[in-house]
Subunit: 396 residues, 2 copies
């Protein structure tokens, strides 16, 4: 009696619930402190105290009807201006409020831009492995997500594979940098090569291939790595951002979609995106959070929190003989499964009370994802279990 494709949706949900319930059962059996859960990507660096202070200041200093009221669907003009100016200062753009559509996080930003761009059957390319929700975001707009394998050694984009994959139905390339699930931070020279491919193929197709950049992890980078600013490399780039990770406020749903004036069909594209946002029921980004963010543009949660985990984990796993490309961003480590059977690896890890994400779910079997957005104590407590797992695979 429901829509026919809901079977698929419910099945997808069931796998996640089954994992979650396995974890709960395990916790009941061995105690929650003995479950080494590296399966969830929930930011857990503490919320900076400046954030709650900003909420209080908004309530104290701004008019309630204004703070909690409707505004234009794209967001409060002063907030959009502040976001634009912050981007200008950091990345050397010339953005204004007219380029910034405030959204309830990066997920709506992605849904909005795909609905704005795609006709039924249009294709969006993405480097694999990739965040599995992308499949839905593109399908919600009637499109089809087509993975293109990233370089299997570095997990950087592969411009040559991209060129081969761009057929007449391709409308956009989706890039997630820093990357979930690999933790890779894409290098500028490689992204320039990607931009060259897009430029060349756009010319031969006689229309722009848009670059959609999903950047919720932009601020989570380590050892001097930095995610290049894609709009400065390729004019037809739109950027989705969320403060979920940089301020550790994922429940609040606050972010933006940036549509630079350099995009083909600007400003029509912005008007369309704004209308899509309203009619899809997003209406506007939560108002108190918009007012709060305006006061927090120079505040970040502590990246050192994740970096300590990263360093401990990388050193220990490497010493145990595991293989992986050292992550430079986000809070994920992408581990190569010794014998290539990632489903079996996840099961064996579970027998040591370790919860991991099977790479198959990210479009890349033979690998597992470790989310290290956990307490440092959990990392330390998990190391003996990883050691046992390494021994089972005779890694040394």
């Amino acid at each position: 009696m429901l829509a026919k494709d809901m079977d698929l949706y419910i099945a997808g949900g069931s796998i996640i619930r089954a994992m979650f319930e396995d974890g709960l059962r395990l916790a009941r059996r061995v105690g929650p402190e003995n479950v080494h859960d590296f399966s969830l990507g929930n930011p857990n660096s503490p919320v900076p105290p400046e954030f709650n202070d900003a909420v209080r200041a908004v309530l104290d200093e701004e008019d309630s009807s204004f703070v909690h009221g409707y505004m234009t669907n794209a967001g409060y003009p002063d907030v959009r201006t502040a976001v634009a100016e912050d981007l200008n200062a950091r990345f050397g753009g010339d953005y204004t409020a007219e380029n910034v559509l405030m959204t309830a996080g990066a997920a709506p930003a992605m849904n909005i831009i795909f609905r704005t761009l795609l006709d039924p059957g249009d294709e969006v390319l993405v480097f694999s492995p990739f965040f599995p929700e992308y499949t839905y975001y593109v399908r919600n707009a009637g499109g089809v997500l087509r993975p293109v394998s990233a370089d299997r050694r570095t997990f950087q984009p592969d411009p040559k594979a991209l060129r081969a994959a761009i057929g007449p139905k391709v409308k956009a390339l989706l890039i997630n940098n820093p990357n979930n699930p690999t933790g890779a931070v894409y290098r500028e020279e490689i992204l320039r090569a990607v931009a060259d491919v897009l430029t060349e193929r756009s010319r031969s197709l006689g229309r722009p291939i848009y670059l959609v950049s999903d950047e919720p992890y932009r601020e989570l980078v380590y050892e001097g790595a930095a995610a290049p600013w894609l709009p400065s490399l390729y004019p037809d780039t739109v950027v989705g951002y969320s403060w979920s990770k940089s301020l550790s406020v994922p429940g609040e749903r606050i972010g933006y979609l940036l549509i630079p004036s350099s995009c083909a069909d600007f400003p029509r594209m912005f008007l369309a995106a704004m209308t899509v946002a309203r009619t899809a029921g997003y209406v506007n980004a939560p108002s108190l959070m918009q007012r709060t963010i305006r006061r927090c543009l120079d505040v970040w949660s502590d990246v050192g929190f994740y970096d300590r985990n990263r360093r401990t984990l990388c050193t220990a796993l490497s010493d145990m003989g595991f293989r992986f490309a050292p992550p430079e961003g986000a809070f994920y480590l992408w581990l190569k499964v010794p014998d290539g059977d990632s489903a079996a690896f996840v099961r064996r890890a579970f027998s040591h009370n370790i919860l991991l994400g099977d790479g198959t779910g990210f479009g890349c079997p033979g690998y597992v994802r470790l989310s290290y957005c956990v307490s440092h104590e959990r990392i330390l407590r998990a190391l003996p279990a990883f050691e046992m797992l390494a021994n089972e695979y005779n890694l040394k």
Copy 2:
């Protein structure tokens, strides 16, 4: 280069912007205090002070990582329980957290339920006139919205017309009570007749026709009117709610979708809706607002604020000779245009600095919508202009 149907979206947006800009030009010419703007449905009863107090209490008393963090996509369990228990106390249900999906307002609730229910080409019926965004909400899910004329005298539902309209493709009836744009509050005996039609036609079709009740104005009722609780009249009813109007916080995007256990295909329907919500990018309702609402379930903004406007306006317009069914709910008055030409009426009103909504946009030409969610002073200041308009139409 954008999706082909974006022309339609942009055109729709252009009409609204053109009206808005006409209003701005008028304000520059005659001064904003002399523009009688009755075109916007923005709640403006003051935000109850308890609301900001509740936000502060959440910040002071609850853990920041919890308050701003991810929770299950359906919302915080304790918030969902509190909402369920509040509904039980008020409407005599037996709801639990398992029936409550917290959403970013009623608009996402509608989008989520239609995506959950509709296959491409499925039809949703609605009594006209109706809120124009419904067309998009249904179309976003691949469905088609089909208006059924309400009783043209009372603007109550017309069960006979409904029976005639239910063909084999009809999956649901959408009801908005209290009603935008008419201000009608649907009567229980009429809704019972509607439920009887749905029951009878569901039986003959061999599958349930769902009743989708959009109730953002539920608390805005006058003179003892009350919107009947539809799930107690028809088992296959789902309810979308928003606190936008009852607390005057429309920017915050907080509401819920209630899926009673009596619905056919429960709990599968709830699981599907929850997955739709996540994959459509809504992810979860804003977390601080969820925590706040839990503390505000017994708080309402002042309905008397709108009632005073309503009484002043009804008395004055009636004395001038205008005709309308006196509104009992929401904050809209639905005026019959004397000669039936609503586009001309809107233009003539504009020449007296009055901004109105043409009924054509609500699927019902020959009427105009007055939104009386304005200050009482604005009502009083507008009366001479309405008097002049009445004289032009020789109403007395």
